[in-house]
Symmetry: C2
Subunit: 297 residues, 2 copies
């Protein structure tokens, strides 16, 4: 199904996102702060969240300028969370996206500030002058992003993660943690793409929400699988660290084979959510769901 | 000038802000995250920023429901910055608002996450359903808050602060640092209050911006003075720490007497900005400018 076309779309979209981030992440911020922010966010990463925003926006026929801002904002939130997550008081990791982590490169204080400034920047990017993105849409995008990043979403998931080291978690608790920690921002990427079209019906939004929820969880299941099956070189981050930290994972709870089967079921759920919606232009979303499950890093 | 009335207004406004924060800062967030957030933000602090938002909103005749959200959002940003600023990799402080700092009470990882979640919560608070605050106003408030908190504002100022320890700063550089680190969020408090009125003229906005800028700087000058003239009990935070850290301050650059005179000049500037505007209901703003300069903690 249109593999070459999909790859072309990915490559073109990544170029747009990279160009926009290059423009919006400051070069000349005081005392090296901009440099640390750029190091953290430019030129690396799979950019799955921006691709989800842009693919959803295309599927619903939304405003691409708004979607590009949403794509960069959600990537900034993701990138800031990695910077803070890697710090000594959290995961204490030295390798990320194949490079030394931000605090190794710039010091802990600068890493914390860079992360803080990246979160603020996400909301700066979402709130340009009114002639660029309608104000009502800006507000809607800020609402979606803030809720997925905050205490009930990503930050809450990280708090559960932190509290769960060395404690056995039930499968239900593990799902809840990952839904918050990773799933909600991935789902928000889809819903922000959908918000870029004013005419998106509640039924279509519900289908997209289900799609986003399924791939959000699939992403984490695969992450847990890769953590035990790949080495650090391929991942660009330290492999085996969940096991070493005695963290519960889908692999430790379900076993490797069941975890893989579960990821495939979630991909199927994502496909079904799209095929039972009234959307027609869903090829890229289907391929992105495949990509989430078939990735090797 | 209406001292008793002013004190009554302050007390009523603080009650409203406290009640709203009590409602909006989550009780039941996962893994103790909500508890850490509530510890950091509830029941303490001078609430100068919320008072500025509310006083400005009254002066321009704006929407009080929107202003109350803006007041809480700006306080959440301020409180998160204190949590992160107190951490070992930054100022390494153990006392804040008369209590052990958040990382002392809950651990560093939880403190970092609580700060992160408080920044997100600020934008959640600003983006309720459309029937509560008009969407265009939500977008405008998010824009003002994000820019004052981010790389060109508060976070940028903190990066300069970090880089300046042990380095002599010129008066100009010191002003630039403080304008970003403290001044811009105080000024944003005023501008967010002004934004709550759709009819606020550009001339009025300019006057309020000048008022906000002057008291923003005055606040920091007084902070520097109190750091050397008061003890920790009165301040509720560790006194003398700028001197101990060999940080440049207005006192070290100007001397104590000139610094005090400078704070009074800034207060006068703030008063003049108001008196030359077309605003009539400025009593609370005038009193708040006095309060900034006359405070002893």
């Amino acid at each position: 199904m249109r593999t070459a076309e999909f790859e072309q779309w990915v490559s073109k979209t990544l170029q747009d996102v990279e160009g926009a981030l290059e423009l919006w992440v400051p070069k000349d911020s005081p005392a090296g702060l901009g440099e640390a922010m750029r190091y953290a966010v430019l030129g690396a990463g799979k950019r799955l969240r921006p691709l989800l925003v842009m693919a959803t926006c295309e599927a619903v026929g939304g405003q691409p300028e708004a979607a590009l801002r949403a794509a960069c904002a959600v990537e900034l939130i993701h990138a800031y969370s990695l910077v803070h997550d890697d710090m000594p008081c959290m995961d204490d990791d030295v390798l990320r996206r194949g490079k030394p982590t931000v605090h190794v490169q710039f010091g802990e204080a600068q890493a914390m500030l860079a992360g803080d400034a990246m979160q603020a920047l996400a909301f700066e990017v979402l709130t340009p002058e009114a002639d660029q993105v309608p104000l009502a849409l800006q507000a809607r995008l800020c609402a979606l992003l803030a809720r997925s990043a905050g205490h009930a979403g990503m930050a809450g998931g990280q708090a559960i993660d932190l509290a769960s080291v060395g404690h056995p978690l039930s499968e239900t608790a593990l799902r809840d943690m990952h839904r918050r920690k990773t799933g909600m921002l991935l789902q928000a990427s889809v819903m922000m793409g959908a918000a870029c079209c004013r005419a998106c019906s509640p039924a279509t939004q519900a289908a997209l929400s289900e799609y986003g929820s399924a791939i959000g969880l699939a992403f984490q299941v695969i992450d847990d699988i890769l953590d035990v099956t790949q080495d650090s070189d391929v991942l660009g981050k330290t492999a085996g660290k969940d096991r070493d930290a005695n963290k519960p994972t889908f692999v430790s709870v379900l076993g490797l084979e069941s975890a893989m089967r579960h990821a495939q079921e979630l991909r199927d759920q994502a496909h079904i959510a799209l095929s039972t919606s009234d959307l027609t232009n869903t090829d890229w979303l289907i391929r992105l769901a495949d990509k989430v499950v078939e990735r090797d890093s």
